[in-house]
């Protein structure tokens, strides 16, 4: 790939990093390289809000995006470790299977949607539907999240270090939600639950993994009341 130029990475990364300048090549060329990587470490310059940057990566490589990314950055990530030095559009790390994604800025809607594994860290704030339908992944948000967070969330953990908007955990299944700040209205079947030692322990691990030093005691836990698990004539919300 002619437009790729090799550059030495910092001292902590002895592997030579490949630099891909999206002023020079398109996202297709970038992703083709990342899907069959010839290096262990990549730096992406001038992302300029392009969509699907580093989507579908399935090798254990490092990808550093120097700027803002559009929709579906690191979508369906497997094994890779992606860092975005900027903000991201809708659906960052959607359906992530493993690996990690870290956003230094803010995230738009549906961050970490349907994720099945791995860790998504958003150092700033996340918009609506953060963690929607999550299926086993972990999400840590440094700031606030918008409305409808963890909608129909099935499994995994969502940690919100700021406030959570209205409708948190609507129709939630077995995901566990930890919120440090205030919550708006809780969604259907979402209730506050007791914080036990095992919850404080797993929260401490998640905060440590995200590089945040909040104390677990500052958080409250939310989850499913499990009253919607079976169809009955008693709740009119079914339909």
């Amino acid at each position: 790939m002619a437009a790729l130029s090799r550059a030495e990475a910092g001292e902590r990364d002895p592997a030579p990093a490949v630099t891909v300048d999206l002023h020079e090549v398109g996202v297709r060329a970038l992703n083709a390289e990342l899907h069959a990587p010839t290096a262990r470490s990549y730096e992406v310059l001038h992302p300029a809000g392009a969509h699907s940057i580093a989507a579908g990566v399935h090798d254990e490589i490092d990808v550093r995006v120097r700027g803002h990314a559009g929709y579906f950055c690191a979508g369906m990530n497997q094994r890779a470790h992606v860092v975005v030095d900027g903000s991201v559009g809708n659906g960052v790390a959607e359906n992530m299977m493993s690996g990690s994604v870290r956003v230094r800025g803010d995230a738009s809607q549906s961050a970490g949607a349907t994720g099945r594994g791995g860790l998504l860290v958003i150092e700033g704030r996340a918009s609506m539907r953060c963690g929607i339908s999550m299926k086993g992944s972990d999400i840590v948000v440094g700031g606030d999240i918008g409305a409808m967070g963890a909608f129909m969330a099935q499994a995994g953990r969502l940690v919100v270090c700021g406030d959570a908007g209205d409708g948190l955990g609507d129709s939630i299944y077995e995901a566990r939600l930890y919120v440090r700040g205030r919550t708006g209205t809780l969604g259907a079947d979402c209730v506050e639950k007791e914080m036990r030692d095992e919850h404080r322990a797993e929260l401490a691990e998640l905060l440590a993994a995200a590089g945040l030093d909040h104390r677990p005691e500052e958080f409250r836990r939310y989850g499913s009341a499990r009253t919607l698990y079976h169809f009955t004539g008693d709740h009119g919300s079914y339909g």
Partner: protein, 438 residues
């Protein structure tokens, strides 16, 4: 006892026996009826159309020997690996969970035997299905149950499902008795719960977002796979235009007669439009965009015979998909289980309780003993036989119209028997040149 009608008793057309039974059931239980199958009400359908064979002004092809091709290419607009199917009849998406693993395997076997595709469903891709399906379409549904990028890459095409004909605007259901440990594990749900699938996609809203989503799917699969967009038949003209604008290679339109494993009765019977009314809208949208036969149109919902296939193609479809008919070919509603259907309150020919998992034929169940009744090899052969018959019947009608390829059938080959079907299908009432509304 004599039949009530023979005794001079009169049944109400408004409150017929099924309606009375439904009211009694609601009063007794306090819950609405959830069932499988599709719309049971009579709606304008392909039976209301007739094919005009050749005569003085048209030259027919000899019925058995002369060449009449049936192959179809799906998804060559953007994908580098479009599908090449031998016949224009595909198998619609049906989930593992709704169906047994044996039934899914049988669908794959039957489809592969005659060179066509089968489709996953709202439960992810099973090894049995992938292993026995030469050509497998992988659905991306709102629930994203089991969604796995490895499966995206292992699939032959991707179908983004916005809705289905049985319940446009509604998400899936799978009741607790069918949430076995394996189904629960694939869907990341607690075993035994009454599961409700999302009705909206979680990470995009609206056609502009869909274009970006399709772009992501293409990136993940390196632009190899055709991307379908499936909609339930409602505002079909607009939906097809928006799907094309979003980048679909193939648009799938499912009419209200299309089946479901579990949906509210009120939804099945009252939402959506018949496939007969949807196909002309879809074809018009494609023609206006200059992409008819370039973005392929697959239609489904009540396809039963080669006549249905031929009429669907003549109205503008490139291929059809079958679901309910495929299950019947596997063995659904088989009279040899008559006593068992009776025992669970149904009857052979009427069984639609796909939601409750007690299917005597072993198709719509997760009960290991019932599921074991279905031999995937034998059932697959039956499906292959049925698909061959559908194809030969389609060829028979195409040859009679002088067509050397089934896709050469056109609206001009059809007339309508009723004013309603003439208006919906946009073909003239038989014996006239009148197309209502045109």
């Amino acid at each position: 006892m004599k039949d009530p009608a023979e005794r001079g008793l009169r049944e109400s057309a408004t409150f017929d026996r099924a309606t009375i039974a439904a009211i009694q059931h609601a009063a007794r239980t306090g819950v609405y009826d959830i069932r499988g199958w599709g719309a049971k009400r009579a709606v304008p359908h392909f039976d209301d159309l007739l094919v005009l064979g050749a005569s003085m002004s048209r030259y027919p092809l000899e019925g058995y020997r002369e060449r009449c091709d049936t192959d179809v290419v799906l998804g060559d607009r953007h994908a580098t690996r479009p599908l090449h199917l031998d016949i224009p009849v595909t198998i619609a998406g049906m989930s593992f969970g709704a169906l047994s693993a044996q039934a899914k395997e049988a669908l794959g076997r039957g489809a592969s035997e005659v060179g066509t595709s089968t489709t996953t469903g709202d439960g992810g891709m099973t090894d049995e299905e992938r292993g026995e399906s030469k050509t497998l379409v992988y659905q991306l549904l709102p629930s994203r149950y089991g969604m796995n990028p490895d499966h995206l890459r292992a699939a032959d095409a991707i179908e983004v499902v916005l809705g289905q004909g049985a319940k446009p605007g509604g998400g899936g259901m799978l009741l607790g008795q069918k949430i076995s440990d394996r189904v629960a594990d694939m869907r990341t749900l607690p075993p035994g719960i009454d599961q409700r699938s999302a009705c909206r996609h979680p990470d995009w809203t609206g056609p502009d977002d869909l274009a970006i989503k399709i772009g992501e799917l293409r990136e993940i699969t390196d632009w190899e796979k055709p991307v379908y967009v499936k909609v339930g038949a409602t505002r079909t003209y607009y939906d097809v235009k928006l799907a094309v604008a979003a980048g679909a290679d193939v648009v799938v339109v499912d009419g209200m007669q299309g089946g479901t494993a579990a949906t509210q009765e009120v939804f099945i019977e009252h939402v959506g439009i018949p496939i007969l009314a949807a196909i002309p809208q879809a074809a018009q949208a494609l023609r206006e965009l200059g992409v008819h036969r370039k973005v392929q149109l697959v239609v489904s919902g009540g396809i039963r015979t080669g006549a249905d296939v031929a009429k669907a193609l003549a109205l503008g479809a490139d291929a059809v998909a079958i679901g309910t008919a495929a299950l019947i070919a596997l063995g659904d509603n088989d009279p040899r289980f008559a006593a068992e259907y009776e025992a669970i309150g149904s009857a052979a020919g009427y069984y639609d309780d796909f939601q409750d998992g007690r299917d005597p034929a072993g198709i719509t169940t997760q009960d290991p003993e019932l599921a074991a009744r279905l031999d995937p090899v034998e059932a697959g052969h039956r499906l292959a036989n049925y698909l061959r018959v559908l194809t030969m019947e389609t060829q028979t009608l195409a040859r009679a119209c002088g067509k050397a390829h089934v896709q050469h059938l056109e609206p001009e080959d059809l007339v309508a028997l009723t004013v309603e079907s003439a208006a919906m299908a946009r073909v003239p009432l038989a014996g006239t040149s009148w197309i209502p509304g045109s």
